[in-house]
């Protein structure tokens, strides 16, 4: 109706993205109809800290409000913590799930706002996709996250020692959160490749995609696997 923050983007482009979201096989299980009751907002941690509302996501998709949808694709979906508290919805909607679909469409289409939103996460994407573990101990750098406080410097300088003090041997790692078996990594690479998750990254960050692809292909090849 009356919202058009992106007049430079043609309506057909907005409609194309909307149609992709709607065509997702999960869509009809995630959106029935919306009461606009706000139960999801009351349950949503992100809504407490940002100008963000899962109700508006559900409403906009239900009303097929293309302009508003495009705004949300750019300005809202990365505010969600994907905690799924919103599934308490009395109509059995899943606003968080709708956001998952919208994010996937935003990533595969390489929206500029998505690239910006995810720019700071390149290392994390790399780490998760190549090792299966997310934040590794060696990311604990004094300058990385100032809000972690001054003791980070002390921990970082004797990281190996601190880690070896932990009872489980699988945690005696610094570059990984925990030890990952090679077989597990190979399975992961196979999954990323076969499901298209690796391909999704190419629109977002081609360089990152190429580096990861090389790592994965080399590892798979070393072990004599070929993924079509």
């Amino acid at each position: 109706m009356l919202s058009n923050l992106y007049p430079e983007v043609p309506l057909e482009e907005k409609q194309r993205l909307f149609d992709q979201v709607k065509a997702d096989a999960r869509f009809e299980d995630y959106l029935y109809g919306c009461y606009e009751c706000g139960i999801c907002v009351a349950a949503c941690p992100s809504a407490r800290f940002y100008d963000f509302s899962p109700r508006k996501i559900a409403q906009t998709l239900a009303r097929e409000d293309i302009e508003m949808f495009y705004e949300q694709m750019n300005d809202d979906i990365w505010n969600c913590s994907q905690c799924f508290s919103c599934v308490r919805c009395p109509r059995h909607n899943n606003p968080g799930g709708l956001i998952t679909i919208m994010r996937e469409v935003a990533v595969t289409n390489g929206l500029r706002s998505t690239k910006e939103a995810l720019a700071g996460y390149t290392r994390i994407i790399y780490k998760i996709m190549t090792t299966g573990t997310q934040v590794s101990p060696d990311m604990l750098q004094e300058d990385a996250f100032p809000d972690w406080g001054p003791q980070v410097k002390e921990v970082a300088s004797h990281l190996d020692l601190w880690r070896r003090a932990l009872p489980p041997e699988t945690l005696h790692t610094t570059g990984l959160s925990w030890q990952v078996e090679e077989r597990t990594m190979l399975e992961l690479y196979t999954i990323w490749k076969l499901t298209g998750v690796l391909d999704m990254i190419s629109e977002l960050d081609e360089g990152l995609h190429d580096i990861m692809e090389e790592v994965m292909d080399d590892a798979l090849e070393d072990q004599g696997f070929t993924i079509a």
Partner: protein, 353 residues
């Protein structure tokens, strides 16, 4: 000696059930109907009935036939009650038919089932330009079109691409003087929205509301169905104004949950008009001295436990004459009124025997 005969006034769903019930319990029933047909407002005006969207005449035929063929029911068509003298056990009522002939009949008790009338959106303030713009119609006008199996813009006979319903027209409004909710119009608008989408799958249909009131099973039978299966758009916010723009209608209001103004062009706007006491209901209040409750409908005593007994001995009320009701409520009240009236007659004949 009490007259062991019941007068039922009005042959809508409520009056029909009251007449059939009392006759089945063995009483002589005099059924007086102002028009030439049984079935009341739904039978005369509506294409289909909630909740199953059955064609109205099909849905009601068995009920009508049961009354028409009942040996204990004496039906007077095209007839109104114009005067009454006497009291419980022996009312002398004067009936007048449309050709002016009068007759006096004796009855022991009365069930008033004279129903409601549709709010007239032109009556007060030319609400929403109903009498000004051809493409602004009411739920009733839409039912009439649907009886012919179509929905078009009256201005040009073409099917509409965008249709909007405006809820609560003539209800819930101090300015108009009607403080009540008419109970059925949210369900009826949803029902019609489903029918429009069935006829015109590509049309966009909006319902602008204050709150959607879907009692009981109408929730999923009508509201969820319209919203989920037929993608009807429910927008919380009432339209303040309708203007003509080219050959379209511009409607202005607020989308309150999105917190922004709305201005959209529509091809057809349907006003969800509510219920008011019918002319016949007001006449019966005078003829039998029945007090009217706060909102102007016929008063009952002992609500919520007794829905049909009026403060006048021997006079009962059923259906929308007592306030906004759907057909289920009206028929239930018809049955309850039959039981109360028959037991009243039985008590009288025992005490006066």
């Amino acid at each position: 000696m009490a007259v062991d005969r019941l007068l039922v006034i009005g042959a809508g769903p409520a009056g029909l059930e009251a007449a059939r019930g009392a006759a089945d319990m063995g009483k002589e029933v005099l059924l007086v109907e102002a028009t030439g047909e049984l079935g009341g407002t739904p039978y005369a005006h509506y294409a289909t009935l909630t909740p199953h969207l059955q064609e109205t005449h099909d849905a009601m035929q068995e009920m009508l036939d049961g009354v028409k063929t009942h040996p204990a029911i004496d039906i007077r068509y095209n007839t109104r009650v114009v005067e009454s003298e006497g009291q419980a056990g022996n009312f002398q009522v004067v009936l007048e038919s449309t050709d002016g002939t009068r007759a006096t009949e004796a009855v022991g008790a009365v069930v008033v089932a004279t129903g409601f009338t549709h709010f007239d959106p032109g009556r007060e303030t030319q609400l929403y330009g109903y009498y000004e713009f051809e493409d602004v119609i009411t739920l009733v006008d839409a039912e009439h079109m649907m009886k012919d199996g179509r929905i078009v813009r009256p201005s040009n006979g073409q099917p509409p691409e965008k249709v909007a319903f405006i809820q609560c027209v003539g209800s819930r409004d101090r300015h108009i003087g009607n403080r009540w909710c008419s109970k059925v119009c949210c369900g009826i608008a949803s029902k019609q929205a489903i029918e429009i989408k069935r006829m015109l799958p590509n049309a966009k249909v909006f319902i602008f509301y204050i709150d959607m009131r879907m009692y009981g099973f109408w929730e999923d039978q009508l509201y969820w169905k319209a919203q989920e299966e037929h993608k009807v758009n429910y927008v919380r916010g009432i339209v303040t104004e309708i203007l003509k723009k080219g050959d379209k209608l511009l409607m202005k209001g607020e989308d309150t949950t999105m917190g922004r103004p709305v201005e959209v062009l529509m091809d057809l706007i349907i006003l969800s008009v509510g219920m008011e006491p019918s002319k016949g209901t007001l006449e019966m209040a005078n003829v039998f001295n029945i007090p009217r409750e706060d909102h102007g409908f016929l008063a009952t005593v002992g609500e919520p436990l007794d829905t049909v007994t009026t403060p006048v001995a021997g006079v009962f009320v059923a259906g929308a004459a007592a306030g906004p009701k759907d057909i289920e409520d009206s028929v239930s009240m018809g049955g309850a009124a039959a039981i109360k009236a028959v037991s009243f007659l039985n008590r009288l004949s025992k005490s006066l025997a």
